[in-house]
Amino acid sequence: MRILIVGGGTGGTIVANNLARRLSKEIRTRKARITMLSASDQHMYQPGLLYLAFGQMTPDELYRDQASLLESSIIFHVDPVEEYKIEEKYVVTKSGKRHNYDVLVIATGSRIAPAQIPGMTEGADTFYTEESAIKLFKKLREFEGGTIAIVVGVPHKCPIAPVELVFSLNDYFKKRGIRDKVHIKYHYPIGRIHTIENVATWAKPEFDRMGIEYETLFNVEEVDAENNVVKSLEGTETAYDLLIAIPPHCGMEEIEANNLGEDGWIPTDRHSLLMDGRDDVYVVGDTTNLPVSKTGSAAHFEAEVIAENIASVIKMGTPVRDYDGKVYCFIETGHDSATYAMFDYKNPPDLTNPSKPMHWFKMAYNQMYWTSVRGLL
């Protein structure tokens, strides 16, 4: 049984390690083989980018060697996939190598697509890549006062990031003693300040307390970088001194180029996590088209289901588990407090009061992440 995992981020790594343990005997006796193909020899802890944007982490703290995170029985190549031959059951990599498989797991994640919005690349800062987060931090350090506008593209990964950004900005400028000189205006695509109703209800008085202005039903149409104005599809506009965007996202180019899914989102069964119409291709993490938040947490829970099911199909001819839509998200509510939201397809998120211990737990999790992707947590 040849299992091929494409993508060595959160989802792919957890599937690979979890499977390697479940199939240790089969791998030893050469009845199973796990190969991972990825685009990088490095693994980035992406939630760290928000800390990088506020000078609380340095870039080196975000990375580990991908090979060091994998069980030794996993064959690992840095050689991105360019062609998917789903009917013929093989992929072709950038170096021209062909990899045949019996089971394929696609875990190539998502990427920011600021170019979808005219002017956003030139006019807006972001923190969704290492380079942009550093650039933003330098600008925040130099910022002496004025309006910071926050806009949110759809769809985007880490739905809680816009709210966390607001809390972080508030704390950062308070610490610098210039909070009264900084006007923060938050814009959000739907009719409340966060898509999760409980989060919106809780965050609204917090925004009021911090003196954050907010405009809802604001979908960015265009950024006029010359005049520092951001315009919405709904017909309103905001002038800014610094614009921070959570850009719209799409899946990887190769997914769309190989007709696996529009915009790089692969049609996926929400319970089995199989690609629609296939029983030999699983999809995990951001690149699914599921109506589930694009988070490491969702990728983690999905990965466990996929690994367990691939192993049980090999061992007893049937999958044993369905994905229930579970997501667990920490919510940083400033630089010294946090809360969390947990939900699944059937149960809405229930929020607890933010606390310092929760923030310390998130800080600990920033380290525990590496244990978690090794499949040990």
Partner: protein, 75 residues
């Protein structure tokens, strides 16, 4: 012009309206999107956005706890 189904049943995050906005971006003017939602709030949230942006609410019906909202893209 085509009709497309957006299945946003049982989703709390990103939620039905976010799903609709995502799919609306890819639709052509004149296309009708049918949004399925199990969230009662959708019957208010979606028309509010549709009105503000200038699309057209074609219909809104509930059957067996699922709301079916049809929206035509106008611009």
């Amino acid at each position: 012009m085509s009709e497309k189904l957006v299945d946003a049943r049982d989703t709390y995050c990103p939620g039905p309206l976010m799903e609709l906005i995502t799919h609306m971006k890819k639709a052509e003017v004149g296309d009708v999107l049918e949004l399925l939602s199990t969230d009662e709030g959708t019957v208010n949230d979606v028309p509010e956005w549709v009105d503000k942006i200038g699309h057209e609410m074609v219909s809104s019906e509930e059957a067996d706890g699922v709301w079916h909202l049809k929206i035509r893209k106008m611009k």
